[in-house]
Symmetry: C2
Subunit: 396 residues, 2 copies
Amino acid sequence: MHLSKRITSMQESPIRKLVPYALQAKKEGKKVYHLNIGQPDIETPASFMQSIRDFKEKVIAYSLSQGSPELIEAIIKYYKKYDMSFEQDEILITNGGSEALLFSIIAVADAGDELLIPEPFYTNYNGFSSAVDVNVAAITCKAEDGFHLPTREEIENLIKPRTKAIVLSNPGNPTGVVYTKEEINMIAGLAKEYNLFVIADEVYREFVYDNLGYTSFGNIKEIEDRVIIIDSVSKRYSACGARIGSIASKNKELIKQILKLCQGRLCVPTLEQVGATRLYGTPNSYFEEVISEYENRRNIVHESLNDMPGVLCKKPTGAFYVVAKLPVDNAEEFVIWMLKEFNINGETVMLAPAEGFYATEGLGRDEVRIAYVLNETDLKKAMNILKLGLEKYAKK
Amino acid sequence: MHLSKRITSMQESPIRKLVPYALQAKKEGKKVYHLNIGQPDIETPASFMQSIRDFKEKVIAYSLSQGSPELIEAIIKYYKKYDMSFEQDEILITNGGSEALLFSIIAVADAGDELLIPEPFYTNYNGFSSAVDVNVAAITCKAEDGFHLPTREEIENLIKPRTKAIVLSNPGNPTGVVYTKEEINMIAGLAKEYNLFVIADEVYREFVYDNLGYTSFGNIKEIEDRVIIIDSVSKRYSACGARIGSIASKNKELIKQILKLCQGRLCVPTLEQVGATRLYGTPNSYFEEVISEYENRRNIVHESLNDMPGVLCKKPTGAFYVVAKLPVDNAEEFVIWMLKEFNINGETVMLAPAEGFYATEGLGRDEVRIAYVLNETDLKKAMNILKLGLEKYAKK
């Protein structure tokens, strides 16, 4: 018996495949600062655990396939703050943003169809697509442009008869880019002209810095039936392990069809939905603190990087990532070298090589993604270790 | 923009599509006994909530993609009781048995490949397959045979070049059949001869009555690299809302490949894994009580059915379902009639029409699935209402 082509050809997580090197470094007694994964260190609001502790049912029963009405209501209320108006039958609760994405891809694309995605992109866009036989075409964005989109014409040239949707993460993972209103409108115009869906991954919606404005695809009335908003509590409330995401769309037929997939997997965990419902009531003051914390970290990372000779990094304005071009030939080799060969007083740093975030062969080989998910003190130490590492690596 | 063919052609849940009729009946003040869904009424062991209440971490962080080592260890220990021996890298934790199934299908079958499944079957086998463009061919089993398998030759004739796996639920949902050792060996022999995987859905493993022996596919050494065991805490510990399932296989390469899908969705909820780990420590006395309770219910349902003129139902020996042939032309119409037109002192019964459990057009039209998930008193009342309903329906 053989395994399927679609699974054997699926890309291995470029982040997770270096984990053995980190484990080995730790075994040798090294401390490793993890800047390679998007696991925030911020505390989950206590209301999450409290509401779960208060859960009194004797049977942990199935929830509704579409999600608990209370959680959907909480999300409707949340979107209102952003001038987006959804009804109960326009939202589905999913197992994290991941399932929201997978189900959306299955719903808009048949085997052999294509998605258009700005690269570098969240690698799981690729993974899920190939798992269900959907092709990915990349809109190449460059470090020199701060990973903003290329011209309308360049994107237009990539649209083919089997292109079904444009998938964007905004604010962007892994780049930290926040698209301008003009960029959002440009994509909306293309979606309308070429009859495409827009799968808008907006899980980092709050994480926008420098008092920049933010435009959600949910605010573009003219294409409201084409927009599928992917959302999640993971980053917003630092509750990655809760695995609560959602799909929102004004296209009721789309939601009705995806509901069949939701029914197939029966429901999302009952307790996590109870907790997530309470998370959506988190006061704004929480975000003010968190955003100011991340903005400060972003500044530290950006300034440190620009202080390193040969490093290119335009100031990112969102999420908690940055992609930097390093003065090395092969960032993966450098990352492994940092784990295997380098330390400052027994401490080293783990970064994510960025090549895996690109669909186009050869791109990103000299780039890394840094997730600023450590507190100020640790982050400063980690950036200093990176600086010294780069210096030593250059002399090799 | 169009939705994909695979999602629009996906079968709607045959159980859930009648829900509006039940809601309407309740609105009219009727009490509805639900024999239509597999939501057990048995209490979840208290250790589940207790261990979650005791969870002390301040950040609800990602768990490992393969699942928490503690939970995997608990499952390894559990399988040992059934003479199955697995290692840490032979088990993956999933979002319920549902995700275990979906991932297994993606791993063994490409678009256009085929699965062979005894019908009537759990409808989501069909749903997931069509969502990922995999065809289903049915091995027809009959009420008259107690839904046991047909001859080896009949099954052999259904195997085609693109058949990749045989999927079986044992004990069976919706039929309650428990396959004999001879049937299991016959399937194992076919799998070997025709180079197929066996996807063994054994989530009802404990629910076997009349002191019958139970043979797991995990006990057939000769095909251990072909067997994928789907499991779940949902029914075993009456924890459907926890959504914790697992994949176990001695085929390490298969597990390694499916791990890529697991990495794509990052992880299964952290808290639910904490709770599930404790569930696996539930003492045997719990099962003794639960099994004796279900066996008693099975007897009530089976005897009541055989007491109704024109009803055919061989005694089922496992799970908590039975498929019965009713003396009606169209069971769906009868089920709707029971909800809309019939009641005994303001009470009625909801059943699941069985046609949706068949892949072969026209089969099962006069059959229903009954889930015996009510206590003895309610179950007796419900069966009596069904009897009176059938009598009145016959006179229409």
